[in-house]
Protein backbone atom coordinates (compact mmCIF):
# COMPACT_ATOMS: atom_id res chain seq x y z
CA UNK A 1 0.00 0.00 0.00
CA UNK A 2 2.68 2.49 1.03
CA UNK A 3 5.03 1.50 -1.79
CA UNK A 4 2.14 1.79 -4.22
CA UNK A 5 1.47 5.30 -2.99
CA UNK A 6 5.08 6.35 -3.40
CA UNK A 7 5.12 5.04 -6.95
CA UNK A 8 2.00 7.01 -7.79
CA UNK A 9 3.43 10.18 -6.25
CA UNK A 10 6.71 9.71 -8.08
CA UNK A 11 5.06 9.28 -11.47
CA UNK A 12 2.67 12.16 -10.89
CA UNK A 13 5.34 14.47 -9.51
CA UNK A 14 7.69 13.87 -12.40
CA UNK A 15 4.89 14.13 -14.96
CA UNK A 16 3.91 17.55 -13.63
CA UNK A 17 7.51 18.72 -13.47
CA UNK A 18 8.28 17.63 -17.02
CA UNK A 19 5.06 19.16 -18.32
CA UNK A 20 5.90 22.51 -16.77
CA UNK A 21 9.45 22.38 -18.03
CA UNK A 22 8.54 21.07 -21.48
CA UNK A 23 8.35 24.38 -23.41
CA UNK A 24 11.78 25.37 -22.08
CA UNK A 25 13.23 21.95 -22.85
CA UNK A 26 11.75 21.99 -26.32
CA UNK A 27 13.17 25.44 -26.94
CA UNK A 28 16.60 24.27 -25.76
CA UNK A 29 16.38 21.33 -28.16
CA UNK A 30 15.30 23.57 -31.04
CA UNK A 31 18.31 25.78 -30.41
CA UNK A 32 20.54 22.94 -31.63
CA UNK A 33 18.54 22.16 -34.78
CA UNK A 34 18.89 23.53 -38.29
CA UNK A 35 16.17 25.99 -39.31
CA UNK A 36 14.65 23.30 -41.53
CA UNK A 37 14.48 20.77 -38.71
CA UNK A 38 13.06 23.39 -36.37
CA UNK A 39 9.88 23.84 -38.40
CA UNK A 40 9.47 20.32 -39.73
CA UNK A 41 6.31 18.33 -39.08
CA UNK A 42 6.34 15.77 -37.57
CA UNK A 43 8.88 17.28 -35.19
CA UNK A 44 12.42 15.97 -35.37
CA UNK A 45 13.48 14.32 -32.13
CA UNK A 46 16.78 12.76 -33.14
CA UNK A 47 19.20 14.88 -35.06
CA UNK A 48 22.82 15.84 -35.26
CA UNK A 49 23.08 18.88 -32.97
CA UNK A 50 24.51 21.99 -34.56
CA UNK A 51 26.00 25.10 -33.02
CA UNK A 52 25.40 27.23 -36.11
CA UNK A 53 22.48 29.07 -34.49
CA UNK A 54 24.60 30.22 -31.60
CA UNK A 55 27.32 31.23 -34.02
CA UNK A 56 24.74 33.18 -36.03
CA UNK A 57 23.45 34.92 -32.90
CA UNK A 58 26.93 35.94 -31.85
CA UNK A 59 27.79 37.05 -35.36
CA UNK A 60 25.22 39.78 -35.05
CA UNK A 61 27.66 42.07 -33.31
CA UNK A 62 24.82 43.72 -31.45
CA UNK A 63 23.89 40.60 -29.50
CA UNK A 64 26.73 41.24 -27.09
CA UNK A 65 25.58 44.84 -26.82
CA UNK A 66 22.11 43.73 -25.72
CA UNK A 67 23.58 41.31 -23.21
CA UNK A 68 25.85 44.02 -21.88
CA UNK A 69 22.83 46.33 -21.55
CA UNK A 70 20.99 43.67 -19.56
CA UNK A 71 23.97 43.21 -17.26
CA UNK A 72 24.49 46.95 -16.78
CA UNK A 73 20.82 47.63 -16.18
CA UNK A 74 20.23 44.80 -13.72
CA UNK A 75 23.43 45.22 -11.73
CA UNK A 76 23.39 49.01 -11.93
CA UNK A 77 19.84 49.22 -10.63
CA UNK A 78 20.66 46.68 -7.92
CA UNK A 79 23.61 48.70 -6.62
CA UNK A 80 21.64 51.90 -6.71
CA UNK A 81 18.71 50.32 -4.86
CA UNK A 82 21.00 48.75 -2.26
CA UNK A 83 22.85 52.02 -1.72
CA UNK A 84 19.57 53.72 -0.95
CA UNK A 85 18.02 50.88 0.98
CA UNK A 86 20.82 49.68 3.29
CA UNK A 87 20.96 52.93 5.31
CA UNK A 88 17.18 53.18 5.34
CA UNK A 89 16.69 49.62 6.58
CA UNK A 90 19.48 50.10 9.14
CA UNK A 91 17.69 53.06 10.62
CA UNK A 92 14.30 51.34 10.56
CA UNK A 93 15.59 48.31 12.43
CA UNK A 94 18.07 49.84 14.86
CA UNK A 95 16.67 53.33 15.38
CA UNK A 96 12.93 52.80 14.93
CA UNK A 97 10.53 55.65 15.50
CA UNK A 98 6.79 55.45 16.05
CA UNK A 99 6.39 56.15 12.34
CA UNK A 100 8.67 53.37 11.08
CA UNK A 101 5.84 50.87 10.62
CA UNK A 102 3.75 53.21 8.56
CA UNK A 103 6.75 54.31 6.49
CA UNK A 104 7.37 50.69 5.57
CA UNK A 105 3.75 50.18 4.62
CA UNK A 106 3.76 53.35 2.59
CA UNK A 107 6.81 52.08 0.70
CA UNK A 108 4.98 48.85 0.02
CA UNK A 109 2.00 50.79 -1.27
CA UNK A 110 4.13 52.56 -3.90
CA UNK A 111 4.76 49.12 -5.35
CA UNK A 112 1.03 48.92 -6.03
CA UNK A 113 1.19 51.77 -8.50
CA UNK A 114 0.55 50.15 -11.88
CA UNK A 115 3.35 51.19 -14.25
CA UNK A 116 0.80 52.10 -16.87
CA UNK A 117 -0.57 54.78 -14.55
CA UNK A 118 2.68 56.72 -14.92
CA UNK A 119 3.73 55.53 -18.39
CA UNK A 120 2.83 58.76 -20.19
CA UNK A 121 4.53 61.23 -17.82
CA UNK A 122 7.63 59.05 -17.41
CA UNK A 123 7.88 58.74 -21.18
CA UNK A 124 7.56 62.52 -21.63
CA UNK A 125 9.92 63.36 -18.75
CA UNK A 126 12.50 60.93 -20.11
CA UNK A 127 12.11 62.35 -23.60
CA UNK A 128 12.71 65.89 -22.35
CA UNK A 129 15.63 64.84 -20.14
CA UNK A 130 17.25 62.83 -22.92
CA UNK A 131 16.90 59.61 -20.94
CA UNK A 132 14.87 57.68 -23.52
CA UNK A 133 16.77 54.68 -24.80
CA UNK A 134 19.60 55.10 -22.29
CA UNK A 135 20.98 52.62 -19.79
CA UNK A 136 20.94 55.34 -17.14
CA UNK A 137 17.20 55.81 -17.63
CA UNK A 138 16.42 52.13 -17.17
CA UNK A 139 18.74 51.90 -14.16
CA UNK A 140 16.81 54.70 -12.47
CA UNK A 141 13.40 53.21 -13.26
CA UNK A 142 14.35 49.71 -12.13
CA UNK A 143 16.02 50.89 -8.94
CA UNK A 144 12.92 52.88 -7.97
CA UNK A 145 10.59 50.12 -9.07
CA UNK A 146 12.33 47.59 -6.83
CA UNK A 147 13.35 49.86 -3.96
CA UNK A 148 10.33 48.96 -1.78
CA UNK A 149 11.05 45.23 -2.12
CA UNK A 150 14.72 45.79 -1.36
CA UNK A 151 14.00 47.87 1.76
CA UNK A 152 11.50 45.27 2.96
CA UNK A 153 13.80 42.33 2.46
CA UNK A 154 16.74 44.08 4.11
CA UNK A 155 14.44 45.05 6.95
CA UNK A 156 13.55 41.40 7.62
CA UNK A 157 17.20 40.32 7.33
CA UNK A 158 18.55 43.09 9.56
CA UNK A 159 16.02 42.07 12.20
CA UNK A 160 17.91 38.78 12.52
CA UNK A 161 21.14 40.59 13.38
CA UNK A 162 21.72 40.64 17.16
CA UNK A 163 21.20 44.21 18.38
CA UNK A 164 23.70 43.77 21.18
CA UNK A 165 26.64 43.64 18.81
CA UNK A 166 25.71 46.96 17.24
CA UNK A 167 24.95 48.49 20.59
CA UNK A 168 28.33 47.38 21.90
CA UNK A 169 29.90 49.14 18.95
CA UNK A 170 27.94 52.28 19.74
CA UNK A 171 29.13 52.23 23.35
CA UNK A 172 32.67 51.97 22.05
CA UNK A 173 32.04 55.21 20.21
CA UNK A 174 31.37 53.96 16.67
CA UNK A 175 29.52 56.39 14.44
CA UNK A 176 26.41 55.23 12.59
CA UNK A 177 28.44 54.89 9.43
CA UNK A 178 31.13 52.79 11.18
CA UNK A 179 28.40 50.67 12.73
CA UNK A 180 26.97 49.89 9.31
CA UNK A 181 30.30 49.44 7.61
CA UNK A 182 32.24 47.48 10.22
CA UNK A 183 29.48 45.57 12.02
CA UNK A 184 26.23 45.36 10.08
CA UNK A 185 27.46 44.72 6.53
CA UNK A 186 29.64 41.71 7.41
CA UNK A 187 26.95 40.27 9.70
CA UNK A 188 24.07 40.67 7.26
CA UNK A 189 26.09 39.93 4.14
CA UNK A 190 24.16 36.79 3.08
CA UNK A 191 20.84 38.60 3.39
CA UNK A 192 22.11 41.57 1.41
CA UNK A 193 23.42 39.24 -1.28
CA UNK A 194 20.10 37.43 -1.66
CA UNK A 195 18.26 40.72 -1.76
CA UNK A 196 20.56 41.88 -4.52
CA UNK A 197 20.09 38.62 -6.39
CA UNK A 198 16.31 38.94 -6.36
CA UNK A 199 16.63 42.48 -7.63
CA UNK A 200 18.87 41.29 -10.47
CA UNK A 201 16.31 38.64 -11.45
CA UNK A 202 13.42 41.10 -11.45
CA UNK A 203 15.36 43.69 -13.45
CA UNK A 204 16.73 41.16 -15.95
CA UNK A 205 13.23 39.91 -16.80
CA UNK A 206 11.39 43.23 -16.69
CA UNK A 207 9.54 43.80 -19.96
CA UNK A 208 7.16 46.72 -19.59
CA UNK A 209 9.59 49.60 -19.23
CA UNK A 210 12.27 48.00 -21.36
CA UNK A 211 9.85 47.67 -24.30
CA UNK A 212 8.48 51.18 -23.88
CA UNK A 213 11.54 53.21 -22.95
CA UNK A 214 14.21 51.69 -25.19
CA UNK A 215 14.45 51.22 -28.93
CA UNK A 216 17.92 50.01 -29.88
CA UNK A 217 20.82 51.74 -28.18
CA UNK A 218 19.99 50.73 -24.61
CA UNK A 219 17.68 47.80 -25.33
CA UNK A 220 18.29 44.89 -22.95
CA UNK A 221 17.70 41.26 -23.90
CA UNK A 222 13.97 41.35 -23.18
CA UNK A 223 13.54 43.99 -25.86
CA UNK A 224 15.98 42.32 -28.23
CA UNK A 225 14.08 39.02 -28.07
CA UNK A 226 10.84 40.92 -28.69
CA UNK A 227 12.26 41.97 -32.06
CA UNK A 228 11.98 38.31 -33.09
CA UNK A 229 8.19 38.66 -33.12
CA UNK A 230 8.56 40.52 -36.41
CA UNK A 231 9.59 38.74 -39.63
CA UNK A 232 12.74 37.48 -37.95
CA UNK A 233 10.47 35.22 -35.94
CA UNK A 234 10.51 32.91 -38.91
CA UNK A 235 13.93 31.74 -37.81
CA UNK A 236 12.87 29.50 -34.97
CA UNK A 237 16.20 27.85 -34.35
CA UNK A 238 17.98 31.18 -34.04
CA UNK A 239 15.19 32.55 -31.89
CA UNK A 240 15.57 29.51 -29.63
CA UNK A 241 19.32 29.89 -29.40
CA UNK A 242 19.08 33.58 -28.54
CA UNK A 243 16.34 32.87 -26.01
CA UNK A 244 18.27 30.09 -24.37
CA UNK A 245 21.28 32.35 -23.93
CA UNK A 246 19.05 35.10 -22.54
CA UNK A 247 17.32 32.98 -19.90
CA UNK A 248 20.09 30.57 -18.90
CA UNK A 249 21.89 32.80 -16.37
CA UNK A 250 18.68 33.77 -14.58
CA UNK A 251 17.43 30.19 -14.58
CA UNK A 252 20.57 29.17 -12.70
CA UNK A 253 20.49 32.14 -10.33
CA UNK A 254 16.77 31.64 -9.75
CA UNK A 255 17.13 27.99 -8.84
CA UNK A 256 19.69 28.89 -6.20
CA UNK A 257 17.60 31.62 -4.64
CA UNK A 258 14.13 30.02 -4.43
CA UNK A 259 13.81 30.56 -0.71
CA UNK A 260 14.78 34.23 -0.84
CA UNK A 261 12.41 34.67 -3.73
CA UNK A 262 9.45 33.60 -1.61
CA UNK A 263 10.51 35.94 1.15
CA UNK A 264 11.10 38.88 -1.16
CA UNK A 265 8.07 38.59 -3.38
CA UNK A 266 5.70 38.24 -0.46
CA UNK A 267 7.36 41.14 1.38
CA UNK A 268 8.33 38.80 4.18
CA UNK A 269 4.75 37.63 4.70
CA UNK A 270 5.69 34.04 3.84
CA UNK A 271 9.11 32.78 4.93
Amino acid sequence: MRANNTLRTTVLGWAVALLMFFPIGWMALTAFKTELQAVSTPPVLFFKPTLENFAAVFERGDYLKFTLNSVLVSFGSTFLALALAVPAAYRMVFHPTPRTGSTLLWMLSTKMMPPVGVLVPIYLLFRDAGLLDTVTGLVIVYALMNLPIVVWMLYTYFKDVPREILEAGRVDGASAWQEVQILLLPLAWPGIASTGLLNVILAWNEAFWSLNLTTSKAAPLTAFIAAFSSPEGLFWAKLSAASLLAIAPILVVGWFSQKQLVRGLTFGAVK
Partner: protein, 293 residues
Amino acid sequence: MSQTLDSSRRTLPLVAPSVVVLFLWMIVPLAMTIYFSLLRYNLLDPGSRGFAGIDNFVFLLTDPAFVTSIWNTVVLVGSVLILTVVGGTLMAVLFDQEFPGRGVARVLAIAPFFVMPTVAALVWKNLMMHPVNGLFAWLLSSIGLEPIDWFTHYPMLSVILIVAWQWIPFAFLILLTAIQSLDPEQKEAARLDGASGLELFRFIILPHLKRAISVVVMIETIFLLSVFAEIRITTSGGPGTDTTNLTYLVFQFGLQQFDIGSASAGGIVAVVLANVVAFFLVRSVARELKPGA
Protein backbone atom coordinates in the same frame (compact mmCIF):
# COMPACT_ATOMS: atom_id res chain seq x y z
CA MET B 1 14.02 59.31 25.99
CA SER B 2 16.04 62.30 24.94
CA GLN B 3 18.69 59.90 23.74
CA THR B 4 16.27 57.98 21.47
CA LEU B 5 14.94 61.24 20.17
CA ASP B 6 18.47 62.34 19.44
CA SER B 7 19.37 59.08 17.73
CA SER B 8 16.24 59.24 15.64
CA ARG B 9 17.10 62.77 14.52
CA ARG B 10 20.72 61.84 13.93
CA THR B 11 19.82 58.90 11.70
CA LEU B 12 17.06 60.65 9.77
CA PRO B 13 19.42 61.37 6.84
CA LEU B 14 19.77 57.61 6.41
CA VAL B 15 16.14 56.99 5.57
CA ALA B 16 15.42 60.32 3.93
CA PRO B 17 16.87 59.58 0.46
CA SER B 18 14.76 56.45 0.02
CA VAL B 19 11.61 58.18 1.17
CA VAL B 20 12.23 61.25 -0.97
CA VAL B 21 13.00 59.42 -4.22
CA LEU B 22 10.05 57.06 -3.76
CA PHE B 23 7.81 60.01 -3.02
CA LEU B 24 8.98 61.79 -6.16
CA TRP B 25 8.68 58.61 -8.21
CA MET B 26 5.12 58.20 -7.08
CA ILE B 27 3.75 61.71 -6.73
CA VAL B 28 5.27 63.67 -9.61
CA PRO B 29 4.24 61.33 -12.44
CA LEU B 30 0.88 60.68 -10.83
CA ALA B 31 0.17 64.39 -10.56
CA MET B 32 1.20 64.76 -14.18
CA THR B 33 -1.10 61.93 -15.23
CA ILE B 34 -4.00 63.59 -13.46
CA TYR B 35 -3.13 66.93 -15.06
CA PHE B 36 -2.78 65.44 -18.56
CA SER B 37 -6.04 63.56 -18.16
CA LEU B 38 -7.80 66.94 -18.04
CA LEU B 39 -6.11 68.23 -21.20
CA ARG B 40 -6.78 67.97 -24.90
CA TYR B 41 -3.25 67.00 -25.83
CA ASN B 42 -1.94 65.01 -28.76
CA LEU B 43 1.78 64.90 -29.45
CA LEU B 44 1.11 64.81 -33.18
CA ASP B 45 -0.88 68.05 -32.94
CA PRO B 46 0.68 70.01 -30.08
CA GLY B 47 -0.90 73.26 -31.24
CA SER B 48 -4.40 72.22 -30.22
CA ARG B 49 -3.41 71.66 -26.61
CA GLY B 50 -5.97 73.00 -24.17
CA PHE B 51 -8.12 72.36 -21.16
CA ALA B 52 -10.65 69.62 -21.79
CA GLY B 53 -12.30 69.12 -18.42
CA ILE B 54 -13.70 65.63 -18.17
CA ASP B 55 -13.91 65.16 -21.94
CA ASN B 56 -11.19 62.51 -21.92
CA PHE B 57 -13.05 60.48 -19.35
CA VAL B 58 -16.31 60.82 -21.26
CA PHE B 59 -14.53 59.80 -24.45
CA LEU B 60 -12.96 56.85 -22.65
CA LEU B 61 -16.10 55.63 -20.94
CA THR B 62 -18.11 55.77 -24.16
CA ASP B 63 -15.41 54.02 -26.17
CA PRO B 64 -16.45 50.39 -26.63
CA ALA B 65 -12.77 49.43 -26.57
CA PHE B 66 -12.54 50.70 -22.99
CA VAL B 67 -15.41 48.56 -21.72
CA THR B 68 -13.92 45.59 -23.57
CA SER B 69 -10.51 46.26 -22.07
CA ILE B 70 -11.90 46.31 -18.52
CA TRP B 71 -13.72 43.07 -19.20
CA ASN B 72 -10.60 41.54 -20.73
CA THR B 73 -8.56 42.62 -17.72
CA VAL B 74 -11.02 40.97 -15.36
CA VAL B 75 -11.15 37.77 -17.43
CA LEU B 76 -7.37 37.59 -17.74
CA VAL B 77 -6.65 38.27 -14.07
CA GLY B 78 -9.49 36.06 -12.83
CA SER B 79 -8.70 33.07 -15.04
CA VAL B 80 -4.99 33.16 -14.34
CA LEU B 81 -5.67 33.47 -10.60
CA ILE B 82 -7.93 30.42 -10.62
CA LEU B 83 -5.52 28.37 -12.71
CA THR B 84 -2.46 29.30 -10.69
CA VAL B 85 -4.00 28.93 -7.23
CA VAL B 86 -5.66 25.58 -8.02
CA GLY B 87 -2.63 24.31 -9.94
CA GLY B 88 -0.20 25.66 -7.37
CA THR B 89 -2.09 24.14 -4.44
CA LEU B 90 -2.31 20.70 -6.08
CA MET B 91 1.38 20.81 -6.95
CA ALA B 92 2.30 21.95 -3.45
CA VAL B 93 0.40 19.03 -1.90
CA LEU B 94 2.05 16.66 -4.36
CA PHE B 95 5.56 17.96 -3.72
CA ASP B 96 5.02 17.97 0.03
CA GLN B 97 5.38 14.19 -0.16
CA GLU B 98 8.70 12.48 -0.34
CA PHE B 99 9.52 10.86 -3.70
CA PRO B 100 12.72 9.96 -5.54
CA GLY B 101 14.22 12.97 -7.34
CA ARG B 102 11.85 15.42 -5.72
CA GLY B 103 14.46 18.17 -5.53
CA VAL B 104 15.27 18.01 -9.23
CA ALA B 105 11.59 17.75 -10.17
CA ARG B 106 10.83 20.85 -8.13
CA VAL B 107 13.60 22.79 -9.84
CA LEU B 108 12.15 21.85 -13.25
CA ALA B 109 8.62 22.74 -12.18
CA ILE B 110 9.45 26.27 -11.06
CA ALA B 111 11.65 27.07 -14.06
CA PRO B 112 8.93 28.90 -16.07
CA PHE B 113 8.87 31.65 -13.48
CA PHE B 114 12.42 32.66 -14.39
CA VAL B 115 11.77 32.89 -18.11
CA MET B 116 11.51 36.48 -19.30
CA PRO B 117 8.02 37.33 -20.59
CA THR B 118 9.15 38.01 -24.13
CA VAL B 119 10.83 34.60 -24.42
CA ALA B 120 7.85 32.82 -22.87
CA ALA B 121 5.48 34.52 -25.29
CA LEU B 122 7.56 33.74 -28.38
CA VAL B 123 8.22 30.12 -27.45
CA TRP B 124 4.51 29.50 -26.96
CA LYS B 125 3.50 31.50 -30.00
CA ASN B 126 5.92 29.81 -32.38
CA LEU B 127 7.12 26.45 -31.13
CA MET B 128 3.92 25.40 -29.35
CA MET B 129 0.89 27.13 -30.81
CA HIS B 130 1.83 27.92 -34.39
CA PRO B 131 -1.09 26.67 -36.54
CA VAL B 132 1.14 24.96 -39.12
CA ASN B 133 4.52 24.10 -37.63
CA GLY B 134 3.71 24.20 -33.93
CA LEU B 135 3.84 21.17 -31.71
CA PHE B 136 0.15 21.41 -30.79
CA ALA B 137 -0.82 21.43 -34.47
CA TRP B 138 1.15 18.26 -35.01
CA LEU B 139 -0.30 16.60 -31.88
CA LEU B 140 -3.86 17.39 -32.96
CA SER B 141 -3.39 16.29 -36.54
CA SER B 142 -1.68 13.08 -35.48
CA ILE B 143 -4.82 12.08 -33.61
CA GLY B 144 -6.90 13.04 -36.63
CA LEU B 145 -8.13 16.48 -35.51
CA GLU B 146 -7.90 19.81 -37.29
CA PRO B 147 -5.03 22.00 -36.05
CA ILE B 148 -6.22 25.05 -34.15
CA ASP B 149 -5.20 28.58 -35.05
CA TRP B 150 -4.89 29.55 -31.41
CA PHE B 151 -4.27 33.27 -31.60
CA THR B 152 -6.98 33.80 -34.22
CA HIS B 153 -9.76 31.72 -32.75
CA TYR B 154 -8.97 31.56 -29.04
CA PRO B 155 -6.78 34.61 -28.51
CA MET B 156 -7.68 35.30 -24.89
CA LEU B 157 -7.44 31.64 -23.92
CA SER B 158 -3.98 31.51 -25.49
CA VAL B 159 -2.76 34.55 -23.57
CA ILE B 160 -4.26 33.12 -20.36
CA LEU B 161 -2.41 29.83 -20.92
CA ILE B 162 0.93 31.56 -21.40
CA VAL B 163 0.57 33.85 -18.40
CA ALA B 164 -0.73 31.03 -16.18
CA TRP B 165 2.25 28.89 -17.19
CA GLN B 166 4.56 31.65 -15.95
CA TRP B 167 2.72 32.20 -12.66
CA ILE B 168 1.84 28.67 -11.54
CA PRO B 169 5.41 28.20 -10.24
CA PHE B 170 5.07 31.33 -8.13
CA ALA B 171 1.88 30.09 -6.46
CA PHE B 172 3.40 26.63 -6.14
CA LEU B 173 6.60 27.87 -4.51
CA ILE B 174 4.83 30.02 -1.94
CA LEU B 175 2.18 27.45 -1.11
CA LEU B 176 4.81 24.73 -0.80
CA THR B 177 6.75 26.89 1.64
CA ALA B 178 3.55 27.40 3.59
CA ILE B 179 2.60 23.70 3.62
CA GLN B 180 6.04 22.74 4.80
CA SER B 181 5.72 25.08 7.75
CA LEU B 182 2.77 22.97 8.90
CA ASP B 183 3.61 20.99 12.02
CA PRO B 184 4.12 17.37 10.86
CA GLU B 185 2.77 16.13 14.20
CA GLN B 186 -0.56 17.74 13.41
CA LYS B 187 -0.82 15.79 10.17
CA GLU B 188 0.28 12.58 11.90
CA ALA B 189 -2.30 13.06 14.65
CA ALA B 190 -5.08 13.54 12.11
CA ARG B 191 -3.96 10.45 10.27
CA LEU B 192 -3.98 8.41 13.47
CA ASP B 193 -7.49 9.64 14.10
CA GLY B 194 -8.38 7.98 10.81
CA ALA B 195 -8.61 11.04 8.57
CA SER B 196 -8.50 10.19 4.86
CA GLY B 197 -6.16 12.06 2.53
CA LEU B 198 -9.01 14.24 1.34
CA GLU B 199 -10.15 15.05 4.87
CA LEU B 200 -6.58 15.85 5.81
CA PHE B 201 -6.45 18.30 2.91
CA ARG B 202 -9.86 19.80 3.60
CA PHE B 203 -9.57 20.25 7.37
CA ILE B 204 -5.86 20.59 8.10
CA ILE B 205 -3.92 21.71 5.04
CA LEU B 206 -6.39 24.08 3.38
CA PRO B 207 -7.13 26.14 6.51
CA HIS B 208 -3.39 26.36 7.13
CA LEU B 209 -2.88 27.65 3.57
CA LYS B 210 -5.56 30.29 3.75
CA ARG B 211 -3.22 33.15 4.51
CA ALA B 212 -0.61 32.08 1.96
CA ILE B 213 -3.31 31.77 -0.70
CA SER B 214 -4.56 35.26 0.04
CA VAL B 215 -1.00 36.57 -0.25
CA VAL B 216 -0.59 34.80 -3.60
CA VAL B 217 -3.89 36.19 -4.87
CA MET B 218 -3.09 39.75 -3.88
CA ILE B 219 0.45 39.81 -5.22
CA GLU B 220 -0.42 38.06 -8.46
CA THR B 221 -3.31 40.46 -8.99
CA ILE B 222 -0.97 43.43 -8.78
CA PHE B 223 1.31 41.94 -11.41
CA LEU B 224 -1.47 40.51 -13.59
CA LEU B 225 -3.24 43.86 -13.87
CA SER B 226 -0.11 44.98 -15.71
CA VAL B 227 0.37 42.09 -18.15
CA PHE B 228 1.84 43.68 -21.24
CA ALA B 229 4.75 41.96 -23.01
CA GLU B 230 2.88 38.71 -23.57
CA ILE B 231 0.06 40.57 -25.33
CA ARG B 232 2.39 42.87 -27.23
CA ILE B 233 4.26 39.93 -28.70
CA THR B 234 1.52 37.42 -29.39
CA THR B 235 -1.63 39.28 -30.43
CA SER B 236 -0.90 43.02 -30.17
CA GLY B 237 -4.23 43.26 -28.41
CA GLY B 238 -6.15 41.66 -31.25
CA PRO B 239 -7.83 40.30 -33.19
CA GLY B 240 -9.79 43.55 -32.96
CA THR B 241 -9.72 44.31 -29.26
CA ASP B 242 -10.15 40.71 -28.13
CA THR B 243 -7.01 40.66 -25.98
CA THR B 244 -6.64 44.36 -25.22
CA ASN B 245 -6.42 44.77 -21.46
CA LEU B 246 -6.40 48.15 -19.73
CA THR B 247 -2.60 48.30 -19.70
CA TYR B 248 -2.44 47.61 -23.40
CA LEU B 249 -5.19 50.14 -24.18
CA VAL B 250 -3.30 52.90 -22.38
CA PHE B 251 -0.14 51.92 -24.24
CA GLN B 252 -2.02 52.17 -27.56
CA PHE B 253 -3.50 55.56 -26.73
CA GLY B 254 -0.27 56.99 -25.42
CA LEU B 255 2.65 55.52 -27.31
CA GLN B 256 0.97 54.52 -30.56
CA GLN B 257 -1.63 57.26 -31.12
CA PHE B 258 0.20 59.84 -28.98
CA ASP B 259 -3.12 60.84 -27.48
CA ILE B 260 -1.75 61.93 -24.12
CA GLY B 261 -5.11 63.03 -22.72
CA SER B 262 -6.96 59.76 -23.28
CA ALA B 263 -3.97 57.66 -22.27
CA SER B 264 -3.73 59.57 -19.00
CA ALA B 265 -7.43 59.16 -18.30
CA GLY B 266 -6.95 55.40 -18.84
CA GLY B 267 -3.94 55.49 -16.55
CA ILE B 268 -6.02 57.05 -13.80
CA VAL B 269 -8.58 54.27 -14.11
CA ALA B 270 -5.77 51.71 -13.85
CA VAL B 271 -4.43 53.41 -10.73
CA VAL B 272 -7.86 53.39 -9.10
CA LEU B 273 -8.34 49.74 -9.99
CA ALA B 274 -4.95 48.76 -8.56
CA ASN B 275 -5.54 50.75 -5.42
CA VAL B 276 -8.75 48.92 -4.65
CA VAL B 277 -6.76 45.69 -4.79
CA ALA B 278 -3.80 47.18 -2.96
CA PHE B 279 -6.00 48.31 -0.12
CA PHE B 280 -6.69 44.69 0.76
CA LEU B 281 -3.09 43.56 0.30
CA VAL B 282 -1.62 46.24 2.51
CA ARG B 283 -4.23 45.51 5.14
CA SER B 284 -3.44 41.81 5.24
CA VAL B 285 0.31 42.39 5.32
CA ALA B 286 -0.12 45.09 7.94
CA ARG B 287 -1.56 42.50 10.28
CA GLU B 288 1.78 40.68 10.10
CA LEU B 289 3.81 43.76 10.86
CA LYS B 290 3.72 44.01 14.60
CA PRO B 291 5.45 47.19 15.65
CA GLY B 292 8.66 46.61 17.54
CA ALA B 293 8.48 42.84 17.07
